[in-house]
């Protein structure tokens, strides 16, 4: 058992070391793979804010992941075809600038999370899981029928969007952008958990009536957590779309929501670095097991089962000593 703080630093160091090694030995695909893990990690860190701190089991976080993806897809599509995004009330053009796309992705997913949260948080427990799933399905079917933006075929963006001063087509530079965002969000998450808001949220999850007697509204606390959570996952969606230079309705699918949940549980719920470890482990398993057999899903299933049944607190729970 090692202290959790060291584990956190060790994981982040490994996430930097592997791509640098890949750069040295000229294996750009490994950098792409690590970038994929980092982006999934960011999505899962987002979910963990709702799930770990707020106790909200959302089976609809693919909504925000997809919104982020489509924010990128739609803006870049209009920029690459030189068509305006909207004519009214004033002409709006598409863009290929990452910071602008991120801003749009975060804003739209914030609004969506606010709306979905307002409606969904009236329920709790299994009903909450299922209503978030229902919202996911609505977005999924909507995107499939949205012929203007490719429907089920999705949208291909031919060149990765730009970031001032960097060449985003270079795998290592794009990785650096994603990693920096992950670190920033992790730092924000750590601060949030220790802030008065985080403490109140934690209390609202465990003993809601006591929070209420203190004059705080558990509903509002949870709503704020849900909105922050959705915004972070939306940002991850925009990055994921840029990694693949492609968006499609599968980003909205319930399997995607399920995978984000898996990242969190596999790593360890409510642990800062848990989602990062979970996402990295999942990408690694997918890559490694895929080479073993045509029927590798069986092995993946068995490993996930093993984690649930025998590893309390996920991978972090296995290797690290809880802080405090």
């Amino acid at each position: 058992m090692i202290p959790e703080r060291w584990l956190n630093l060790g994981i982040l160091a490994a996430l930097v070391a592997v791509p640098i090694w890949a750069l040295v030995v000229d294996e750009p695909f490994i950098i792409t793979l690590v970038t994929r893990a980092v982006i999934f990690a960011l999505a899962a860190v987002g979910l963990n804010i709702a799930l770990g701190l707020g106790g909200l089991v959302s089976l609809g976080h693919a909504v925000f992941f997809g919104i982020g993806g489509y924010a990128m897809g739609i803006l870049a599509y209009h920029a690459q075809t030189f068509t305006p995004l909207a004519e009214w009330p004033f002409p709006i053009d598409g863009t290929k600038s990452m910071p602008v796309i991120w801003l749009v992705a975060v804003t739209t997913s914030t609004l969506a999370a606010l709306l979905i949260g307002l409606l969904s948080l009236r329920t709790s427990g299994v009903y909450f899981i299922m209503i978030t799933l229902a919202f996911g399905q609505m977005f999924y079917y909507f995107s499939i029928s949205w012929a203007q933006y490719g429907g089920e075929d999705g949208l291909s963006i031919y060149v990765r969007n730009g970031f001032p001063g960097l060449n985003t087509l270079d795998p290592i530079q794009f990785f650096a952008i994603c990693f920096a965002l992950l670190c920033a969000v992790l730092g924000f998450n750590a601060l949030l958990a220790r802030s008065p808001f985080g403490l109140a949220l934690n209390a609202a999850r465990q003993v809601p009536h006591r929070v209420e007697t203190m004059g705080l509204s558990p509903f509002r606390l949870k709503l704020v957590a849900f909105v922050i959570s959705g915004a972070v996952t939306g940002l991850a969606g925009a990055l994921f779309a840029d990694l693949n230079r492609f968006v499609s309705p599968t980003m909205f699918s319930w399997q995607m929501s399920g995978e984000i949940i898996i990242f969190v549980i596999l790593g360890g719920v409510a642990r800062l670095i848990g989602p990062v470890i979970g996402a990295a482990a999942f990408v690694l398993l997918e890559h490694w097991l895929g080479g073993l057999s045509d029927y590798w899903h069986i092995y993946l299933g068995a490993i996930l089962l093993g984690v649930v049944l025998f590893a309390r607190g996920g991978i972090v729970g296995l290797v690290a000593r809880a802080h405090g």
Partner: protein, 306 residues
Amino acid sequence: MSAILIIEQILNGLQLGVMLFLMAAGLTLIFGVMGLINLAHGSLYMVGAFAAAAVAGATGSFLLAMVAAMAAAAIAGVLIEVVVIRRLYAKDHLDQVLATFALILIFSEGVRWVFGSFPLFLDIPDYLSGPVSLPGGIQYPLYRLVLIGIGMVVGLLLWLLTQQTRLGIQIRAGENDREMIAALGVNISNLYTLVFAIGAALAGLAGALVGAIQSVQVGMGEPVLILAFVVIVIGGIGSIQGAFIGALIVGLTDTLGGVFLPQLFRLFLEPAGATSTGSALASMAIYILMGAILIWRPTGLFGQRA
């Protein structure tokens, strides 16, 4: 739009509804009694269909195939209950979601490993095929009428089981206070396994019955699983009555929405746009309905507990 067509579509909606009920009944019983979210319920549906196709292919008997479907799904259900599910009752919903998601992966690829990657053949027996004439000149497939009948009978039997039998009393008691009925000498572990087997057998039966008019292939369980969840959430989780009403609501909404929404939009849009907008909205309709019902009644129509 003639009256005949409308009646025919209502029958179609009913038929979809009762099949969803067979799935949803097991799901809601398992949740009500054991507090378990079982995502692998769709896999049991698939197991039933594959077992039926294999037995029908070997023996040529549709009845034997149905029996085999129920038996195979029940055995698979008992197996996973004893090996895996039993360890999940004490855990939270999150662990249950992950573990049963893992079971889906194992079942899907396992079935593909055994039966191959191509869909299997399962057909309606001759004595149930073809349409029959109903009053009013409606031509309706006999097999679908039989499905509606089977669904109604199963619903009635389940209602009798839970309301009138000793087992039903134990099940209802188990929903309310599991410590108490354990203290009264009921073997709670056997009770759980039995309830799980009943739910699994119903899912297997639904898979086999539907497999005869659809395609028996890997992954066939997942879309139905999602619909069954919609059903039990609308009805109120744990309520057989709620599952029945919810199933009919979902069946009718999905069928009638798919037919009438595009026509509705045709009143004020050009035909091509109306068709695709209407179809898009129809595919979202049941989820919109479910969202609306939960916002109005956060524990579903017949749900008692949060």
